[in-house]
Amino acid sequence: LHLFVQACLLGLLTGGVYALMASGLALGFGVMRVINVAQGALIILGAYLSYSLQRSIGIDPFLGLVLLTPAMFLLGVVLQLVFLRPLRDGQEREELSLLVTWAIALGIEGILARTYQTTYRSTHTSYADRSWIVDGYHLSEPRVFAFIVSAIVLGLLFVVLHRTGLGRAIRATVQNPTSARLLGIDTRMVAAVGFGLSVATASAAGAVYGIVFTFNPGSHYDLISRLLSIVVLGGLGSLGGAVVAAMFMGLAEALFAAEISPTWSSFAFFAVLIVVLVIRPQGLFGARVRGAM
């Protein structure tokens, strides 16, 4: 039982980080029907940037977010304006966005591989190897901090979406772009800002990822395959669904690793995904999404 509880704790902590990562993806789809395959690469970019900040000027990765988040927000807005806005509206927009963002991911991977080479790195902090022991259970400090930061950023995202005028405009655009436009919302601006927000979450996710895991420019594939499973499981475009699915997947992965085999733990993701697709193709909370059956 000790092992089981330990695995549950680890799973929930990891799930929190997944929730943060997947929230950006879900937001991007909700606002603009863009499936951002580059989200994984952007998270790795965030991880490298916070690694560099810490290496060169000695800024703690969590403090560095104050600098990184606005920068990533701007990057998101620029990417949206240059690459995603020109896509024509219509049936194929989602598929085209998938391919375009995949190309962006390749570009980011190429740039990172040129700048940092392909050796594995990880952000070293003074608390990297420390852990708290509560009632016999190990809670590694970086993972707990990572969970807390993820929770804070998700909370901020929730506040922005539900307590501000901008958030209201974004939610209106998610629900019905045409009506939103008729009501005088500049949906093109909302799309740019929404994409900026979703990319901005990648800075926090990246900082956290860099502390907890080792990474190299190719790591984004591993990341995005998990994130996409989470988002499909939660129901495309549903932010709450993504968070619940992320916690669930984090748990499933940790339990699988503890009880069955660590090398096969990423299969927990795919196994869950297949079962869900067979029973409920629209995902757990995906009733509202059109086009996805």
């Binding site: 029907r33 499936i35 395959v37 690459f83 020109p86 896509l87 024509r88 049936q91 194929e92 989602e94 598929e95 085209l96 966005s97 998938l98 391919l99 375009v100 995949w102 190309a103 962006i104 390749l106 570009g107 991977e109 190429g110 740039i111 591989a113 040129r114 392909t118 420019p217 594939y221 591993d222 995005i224 395959s225 996409l228 499973s229 988002v231 499909v232 495309l236 090398t263 096969w264 990423s266 299969f267 993701f269 795919f270 995904l273 297949i274 697709l277 067979v278 193709p281 086009g291 996805a292 059956m293």
Partner: protein, 332 residues
């Protein structure tokens, strides 16, 4: 509607006749090597087009079938005493049929979703197969990779060249035949409006699964030849997202849903890619260049070269002789 038109036959004869003669005229190994990869991607893109181009279902997991085919051939070498020579080529049809059949249950699960969700599910298929190649150590030797004893052909490249050419011919023939068949009409109807097609009595699931299976089987055979040619395969190269991206990009560049578009796309992109990789190989620059080409194609030529040219030709004809072309449908 399938018609055997003299012009079409002449075009196919010209292309394939030229390609058959090429290695007899040109002996430089690097040229033949370049053409092997060009033919390989042309075959892959044509196979992908049968599903992605006709039905509009974008599968991003076809590299998984490529990898399965590659491993099937490599494992045949390690488990049986097949010996190197021409016999492994005879195993290929079995690989194709086997993977084609095995892809049906996978397709059945994936086709429960549509549009973007389908694309995502097929991406996860790619990573599942890659993970399997890493983890099924007893079968694939994991990250160590599998070695195949290289055959003693003289000249070495020629049999592989003709194998790839044969697969390309098969893929193009299948594309052409399906496009003119009831199956092709069903697929095109699905692309335009799946719900309406089903409402009108089109067997949508059957059509989608058939296209998926044919496409997967062809891709697996190409993967098998590739593995035999390289003589050494690793999980990250046999099941490579870049292979998927290559197929998709070439189809989009040449023209989705056309018979020759994917071939044209491959003949433009593969030499360009090889040139970049040769010049900038070590520096990862080719990834950036690849991304740039992809973005340009998607943003500037989303319909592809062939459909754009056909559109121009049609407009030009409409301007010169307005009366005769009024009711003519687009034929490709």
């Amino acid at each position: 509607v399938r018609r055997i038109r003299p012009l079409g036959v002449a075009r196919a004869a010209l292309v394939f006749g030229g390609l058959v003669l090429l290695p007899l005229v040109e002996h430089a190994p690097w040229v033949v090597d370049l053409f092997i990869f060009t033919l390989m991607y042309a075959a892959l893109a044509s196979a992908w087009n049968i599903l992605g181009g006709y039905s509009g279902y974008i599968s991003l997991g076809h590299a998984a079938f490529f990898g399965v085919g590659a491993y099937a051939i490599a494992i045949t070498f390690t488990r049986t005493s097949i010996g190197s020579g021409y016999r492994p080529f005879l195993v290929l049809p079995l690989v194709g049929i086997g993977v084609g059949l095995a892809s049906i249950p996978i397709g059945w699960v994936a086709f429960r979703t549509r549009a973007a969700t389908f694309a995502i599910v097929t991406i996860t298929l790619l990573f599942v197969v890659q993970q399997l190649a890493f983890n099924l150590h007893s079968l694939t030797q994991g990250s160590q990779g599998l070695a195949i004893p290289p055959p003693r052909f003289d000249p070495f490249e020629r049999p592989f060249y003709y194998a790839m050419l044969a697969l390309l011919a098969l893929a193009v023939l299948a594309s052409w035949w399906i496009r003119g068949s009831t199956l092709g009409l069903a697929l095109l109807a699905i692309r335009d409006d799946e719900d309406r097609a089903r409402g009108l009595g089109v067997q949508t699931t059957f059509a989608k699964l058939t296209a998926f299976s044919v496409s997967a089987g062809l891709v697996a055979m190409v993967g098998g030849v590739w593995a035999y040619y390289l003589a050494f395969i690793y999980p990250q190269f046999a099941v490579d997202p870049l292979v998927t991206i290559g197929m998709v990009l070439m189809v989009y560049l040449g023209g989705r849903g056309t018979v020759w578009g994917p071939v044209l796309g491959a003949f433009i992109l593969v030499p360009a890619q090889k040139y970049l990789a040769y010049r900038e190989g070590a520096s990862n620059f080719y990834l950036i260049a690849y991304a740039a080409v992809f973005l340009l194609v998607m943003l500037l030529l989303p319909r592809g070269i062939l459909p754009t040219i056909q559109e121009w030709a049609r407009r030009l004809r409409a301007r010169t002789e307005p009366s005769s072309t009024a009711g003519e449908a687009v034929v490709s």
